[in-house]
Each structure stands twice: as structure tokens, then as C-alpha cells.
Amino acid sequence: MNLIGDILLVIGCAFIALGSLGLIRMPDVYNRLQAGTKAATLGAMSVLLGIGFHHPDWWAKLLVIAGFVLFTNPVGSSTIARASLKAGIEPKRVGESPEFKP
């Protein structure tokens, strides 16, 4: 039981670290938003599941935190994307698509 929890903790922290690496490596605000939000959300879910394997009597609070993270992260990321698009930040264009209007 503890071994499964530790493995889930390592997997979740690895996903969070890879999301932060994508935050460094990606070329654009919108790509950074994808990398920083989705990978970090999946990593946080895995960390919560690992702590749930360690302490099975905390399942109610862990479920509330998981639902809250799953509810607020897409709302926040879409709000940031909408704000940066309205503030006039252009998406980075790769290849030829000159008629694309966001």
C-alpha cells in the first residue's frame, strides 16, 4: 500500500516537473498555458491519489481538493487565454497560414 502511494507520488511530481519544463521551453503564451496547466493538473491528481493510498481515512477532503482543482484550473487557464488574446498578444505562427484570424 505504501509502495503504491510512493510510486504515485513520484509519477505525479514527475508530471509536475515536466509541465514546468514545458513552461520554460514553449515559445508562446498559449503553448505555455497548455503545458503549465494540463500536465500540472494531472500531476496534482496523481499526488492526491498517492496521499490517499497512504492515508485512506482522508478520502473526503482529498476528494474535495481534487474536485476543486479539476474545476478551477480550466476556468483559470481559459480566462488567461481570453485576456491575453484581447490584450493583443498574437499567437506564434509556424508554417504558412496567413489567412488565419484568431
Binding site: 513552461l23 482543482v69 490584450a87
Partner: protein, 88 residues
Amino acid sequence: MTLSLLQLIAVALLVLAIGLSAVRLFLGPSTPDRVVAADTLAVITTAGLVGLAGAFDNPIYLDIALVYGTLAFVGTVAVARAIEGNRE
């Protein structure tokens, strides 16, 4: 409180994630980059607080994680709406 090897690896990966996000927070070229980095740091801090609750065997840190997530979400949305402005 003694951490096993896998838990030490997890803590090291979490510290690496905090460092990389802080680099983007400090040298992000525009304001939405910094907001994205702050949002990611909030998720990392929530996961870290849950891990701290497991490390200390104390479920009060779960409440702290929930309140921190709420306040970070409100702050992110407020800063995003301030960036957006009210131009029409």
C-alpha cells in the same frame, strides 16, 4: 518523520518544478506569461501542501491547501481580467 527514497525523489522533482516555474515568473517577456507561471506555482503549492499533510500525519494541511487553492484561483482571475481591460 523519515522519508523513503521514492519520497525523496518526489520532493526533489517538486523543488525542480518550483525552480523552473520561478525562472519563467522572473523573466517572462509579457504579463500573461507571469500570470501563467503564478497559476502553475499555485497548483504546485497545492500538491506540495497535500504532500506535507502526508509527511506530517496532520490533516489540517488539507484545509490549508483548499483555502490556498481558492485564493490563488480568485487572484488569477482578477489579474487576468485586469490585463484584459475594458476596451470594446
